[in-house]
Amino acid sequence: MEGLLYPITLTHYLVLGAALFLIGALGVLVRRNLVIILMSIELMLNGVNVNLVAFSGLHGDVNGQIFAIFIIAVAVAEAAIGLGILIALFRNKMTVQADEIQLLKW
């Protein structure tokens, strides 16, 4: 009898990846601090990477891991640009609260 918890299958990795992604999405939606919103985006990308690596392991194929490498490269670029924008914004508006930045709001 296979238990729900014991033999670690692909499903466990998929559920974990989905949980990480959703926690990150929740962080993006509810937090006001822009730095923490950027951290939540990193969490979401990590959840996707868990999925890709798990499928790569299932198929014995490194293509999934290469996609994860590209995702990490894009995530690093995104973090650098996001934090640069954040510093420029902080210089001009002296705030990092997402809902106080409403220059484009009519």
Binding site: L20, R32, L38, N46, V53, G60, I69, I87
Partner: protein, 188 residues
């Protein structure tokens, strides 16, 4: 033994993630993010993705989170901790995320139900390892099949570095933005 490691790393990743989005102090959030990333790195190691494990440790924990900590120190406002941390509509967001989560888990359960007839399902977490190491196999595919995307990534990184430097430097260097800043000052 495999299951023990899996649950340890999964718990680390999930607890770190939850702490990251709930802590009031941004420095605590960044430290929890490091914990979460270490958990995910351990999962990579369990899935025999040693190269990604090293990349995760070096790039994410050594690079990105340190960058985050620098920026937190730069934009540190003491009163930011005392402000309201969550949106007014956080209950709505929580409900939306929970319903999407239920849909996702339902979809995964259906996928497992369809796939469970396959004989190799139970050994899904123990991938077949070939003679070469993981890094060699990744390098083989990355530098042949994915050569053009790889070079495009290097271009992306150069653009990102130059853009980050341009965005973060002091505005006094640009005459145009001085005027824009003056206008913003009058508006305030």
């Amino acid at each position: 033994m495999d299951a023990l490691f899996f649950y340890t790393f999964a718990l680390l990743a999930l607890a770190g993630a939850i702490l990251t989005i709930t802590r009031t102090n941004a420095v605590h959030s960044a430290l929890s993010l490091i914990g979460s990333l270490i958990g995910v790195a351990g999962l990579f190691l369990l899935e025999k993705a040693e190269f990604l494990f090293a990349v995760q440790i070096l790039l994410y924990i050594g690079g990105v989170t340190v960058l985050f900590l620098f920026v937190i120190m730069l934009v540190n406002l003491d009163e930011a901790v005392k402000l309201r941390q969550f949106n007014r509509l956080w209950t709505l967001a929580l409900a939306a995320v929970l319903s999407v989560g239920l849909l996702t888990v339902g979809g995964i359960a259906r996928y497992q139900h369809q796939q469970s007839a396959r004989p190799d399902w139970a050994i899904a977490a123990s991938p077949r390892v070939s003679g070469e190491g993981n890094t060699e196999r990744i390098a083989d595919v990355l530098f042949s099949q994915y050569l053009v995307p790889f070079e495009a990534t290097s271009l992306l990184l150069i653009v990102a570095v130059i853009g980050a430097v341009l965005l973060a430097r002091k505005r006094e260097a640009l005459g145009v933005s001085m005027d824009a800043r003056k206008a913003a000052g009058e508006e305030d």
